[in-house]
């Protein structure tokens, strides 16, 4: 057996071909497939649901935060606008003005500072540019005249509301002249009405510290690392967990740096005051989702960002847990399937192993126990029955074979006995020079019915006989033995051959239910003169061969075979052999010997062979004829006994 990786106890079946393994593998693969698909679908749906839910949450969060920011912004706007209105409606001197500004700053906690910047060209009350500014300090307020520090009239917070004639929030900026903090300014123009003419008089400003607003935004915490951010109108970061980009980077500068068209588009939509919920990659490269919405008064954008990982971390954990449980379950199931399959295939394997032994001839091989009532148990029981009947059959066959062999050997013995009753000693009468006799019998495989015999009736009278019993086998052999015995008992010197045949016929025909018969040629040779007195009962006519090779057939007998029916009279015939002449007697096994084409050896070939053999010893002649027959039949099976007898009269 070649060395393989297969386990030796598999009954020659490779482990991967075993039913249990195949069943287990197929089952597992399909289970995993179905489970994986379900899990995948579940994950996908849960993700969508969570995303949708998150959008709502983000929107709520943003709108809530926006509300808080807007409250601050709106109150500051309202304060500024009411200051402007007061300046338009009520007369004031410088002391009033300064008190008014100071009180406004102190009364409003969200206001860092406030200024009233007058338009110098039209101002009659104050000389030159005048812009009193109060701002909050730790101890109270500080006053400066902005006009002392810089030319305020060029500033955006002055220019833009003046030109537009309406309230305006500035872009956030660092107030270097005033509080040196990040702030945004609400600017409201105010006017002086004289003669029904409205003249621009100046700008009231209120500064709001962005710290308060960014604190609100920074207080946003989403999941673990989610955060809020605030963008100004032009996309500059006002609030962001990364302090370094506040006021230093804008969405557009980041889009430029990253080369991201997408980010720029987002920036544009924000600037247009839209809101949205989009997937988004943070500066740290974390895949996230972002919700953004505008702040109405200031045109800023408030947004929240939450990392996808954290967003989906719960369902990921859930999915992983489910997968682990699922695969664990499949594994368990596979073990169970393999176990069940094994419990089915183990008896089959045992049965296969037993059947291998039985196939090898070991009928005592133990079959596995078949207690179960399932198909395998049924198979095992059937197999048991089959094994038993096979065993019985083989035993019977063995006995039959033995019996047949015994019978064959008995037939062989019968055959040997049959042959032994024929005279076999040649020359039979070595002291007699006046005649010679030789006989040859080649029995067919079965016991046949051919025979010959010769014996001296007296010194000058030789009785010879050749016969062929109908059929083959033991009946023919017995019939032949009886015939031979009868002839010998009837043959006397004062009896003629025709009388012998008549006697034999009567004896054989009586009680011959099997209707067997025998052809007989019986003759007496007078050894002193070569005269032959013979009678023929249905036997093939013999031939007379003279020393020159002339061959002559004796006339056909036309009298019935012996044993067929009683009351037959046989005719005696006479023949005289000249010195050197021979009488050749044979049975039809000679002329009816066949070759492979079923052609007969025929009388013609016999005649030719005899003529060719003239002058040879009779023994050699018969062997020549036999050789010729064997050459003719060329190995074709011999179906009948071949018997030849030749008597030569020498004178």
């Amino acid at each position: 057996m070649p060395k393989t990786n297969d386990r030796p106890d598999c009954g020659g079946i490779k482990w991967r071909h075993r039913l249990s393994v195949r069943l287990g593998v197929v089952f597992s693969v399909f289970s995993v497939l179905i489970f994986g698909m379900t899990l995948g679908y579940n994950y996908y749906q849960a993700r969508n649901m969570i995303t949708a839910k998150m959008e709502i949450q983000a929107r709520n969060l943003v709108s809530a935060t926006a509300g808080r920011v807007e409250t601050v912004v709106a109150s500051v706007t309202a304060l500024t606008e009411s200051m402007a209105l007061s300046l338009e409606l009520f007369p004031f001197n410088n002391t009033h003005l300064l008190d008014f500004i100071k009180i406004s700053v102190l009364s409003h906690p969200d206001v860092f500072g406030s200024a009233v910047a007058f338009e110098p060209s039209v101002n009659g009350r104050f000389q030159g540019p005048y812009a009193p500014y109060y701002y909050r300090t730790r101890s109270g307020t500080e006053f400066i005249n902005l006009a002392d520090n810089f030319d305020y009239m060029c500033r955006d917070w002055f220019q833009i509301p003046k030109e537009l004639g309406k309230t305006e929030w500035s872009e956030p900026y660092y107030d270097e002249g005033g509080g040196n903090i990040l702030m945004a300014t609400c600017s409201v123009p105010f006017y002086e009405v004289q003669n029904n003419q409205k003249r621009f008089s100046g700008i009231v400003t209120a500064d709001i510290s962005l710290k308060r607003l960014t604190d609100i935004v920074s207080s946003i915490k989403v999941l673990k690392t989610g955060y809020g951010f605030l963008l100004s109108r032009n996309g500059t970061f006002l609030a962001h967990p990364r302090q370094d980009i506040i006021m230093n980077e804008s969405l557009f500068s980041l889009a430029e740096a990253r080369g991201s068209r997408e980010l720029r588009d987002i920036g544009r939509r924000m600037a247009a005051g839209e809101s949205g919920f989009i997937p988004f990659q943070t500066f740290a490269g974390v895949q996230s989702w972002m919700y953004y919405a505008p702040l109405q008064h200031v045109g800023w954008t408030l947004g929240v960002v939450f990392p996808e990982d954290e967003l989906f971390s719960d369902i990921r954990t859930l999915t992983m847990t489910m997968a682990a449980m699922g695969f664990g379950g499949v594994l368990l199931l596979m073990i169970v399937v393999v176990f069940i399959a094994k419990s089915v295939t183990n008896p089959i394997r045992a049965l296969a192993a037993a059947s291998d032994k039985i196939a090898g001839g070991d009928f005592e091989a133990r079959l596995p126990e078949s207690r179960s009532k399932d198909e395998v148990g049924l198979l095992t029981r059937d197999f048991q029955v089959m094994r038993d009947s096979l065993k019985d059959h083989i035993q019977l066959l063995t006995e039959t074979t033995a019996a047949r062999e015994r019978m064959e050997s008995e037939l062989q013995i019968a055959h040997d006995i049959q042959m032994s009753i024929l005279p076999k000693t040649f020359p039979p009468f070595p002291t007699r020079d006046e005649f010679d006799l030789f006989a040859l019998i080649i029995p067919a495989r079965e016991v046949g019915g051919d025979f010959y015999d010769f014996f001296q009736l007296n010194d000058n009278l030789l009785c010879f006989v050749i016969g062929d019993v109908s059929g083959k086998g033991v009946p023919a052999a017995l019939f032949m033995a009886v015939t031979k015995t009868l002839i010998k008992s009837f043959a006397k010197e004062d009896v003629t051959p025709e009388e012998i045949l008549s006697h034999v016929n009567e004896e054989l025909a009586a009680e011959n239910d099997a209707c067997m018969f025998v052809t007989l040629f019986c003759g007496f040779l007078n050894t002193s003169n070569g005269e032959i007195h013979y009678a023929n009962a249905g036997h093939n006519p013999p031939l007379v061969v003279n020393k020159n090779g002339t061959v002559k057939w004796l006339p056909r007998a036309k009298s019935l075979v012996a044993g067929a029916m009683p009351g037959i009279r046989y005719e005696g015939e006479h023949l005289k052999l000249l010195p050197g002449d021979s009488l050749f007697l044979y049975t039809d096994g000679v002329t009816e010997a066949m070759n492979h084409d079923d052609d007969l050896f025929s009388e013609k070939r016999l005649e030719k062979d005899l003529a060719f053999s003239a002058g040879l010893e009779i023994k050699d002649t018969l062997h020549n004829v036999m050789g010729s027959i064997q050459q003719f039949s060329d190995g074709a099976p011999q179906t009948d006994d071949i018997t030849m007898m030749m008597i030569r009269y020498s004178g």
Binding site: D468, M516, F517, T519, K558, V561, E592, T639
Partner: protein, 111 residues
């Protein structure tokens, strides 16, 4: 060997074809003895198709003749040709059985 039987008046004609030897004779014997057992008393055996007949075949004919004779029936042989006729002559069967040249001639005898 092949055997065909047909009814012709009160006689049954058995036409035999091929070789009748020790191997085929039992089948020949069975069909003949079956007919006799059925009560057929006149059998005409047509030997025209027989190529060769051995002593075993002759025995079947002899047994049939004896069985029919015991029942007062008769066996007719017709159409023996060539080697078959020779066998009948040599064995002397020709002298105890009537051999007819044709089935018709045999049936005429049977009446």
């Amino acid at each position: 060997m092949n055997i065909q039987t047909r009814q012709a008046g009160r006689a049954t004609v058995i036409a035999v074809f091929g070789k009748v030897d020790a191997m085929t004779a039992p089948a020949f014997e069975t069909s003949v003895s079956d007919l006799i057992a059925e009560g057929q008393l006149c059998l005409a055996i047509d030997l025209g198709g027989v190529e060769y007949i051995s002593s075993a075949g002759l025995r079947v004919i002899l047994a049939a003749a004896k069985a029919l004779k015991a029942k007062d029936g008769m066996l007719l042989l017709a159409n023996a040709r060539g080697p078959v006729q020779e066998v009948f002559e040599i064995s002397g069967f020709g002298s105890v059985f009537n051999l007819y040249d044709s089935v018709e001639a045999a049936l005429e005898t049977a009446g």
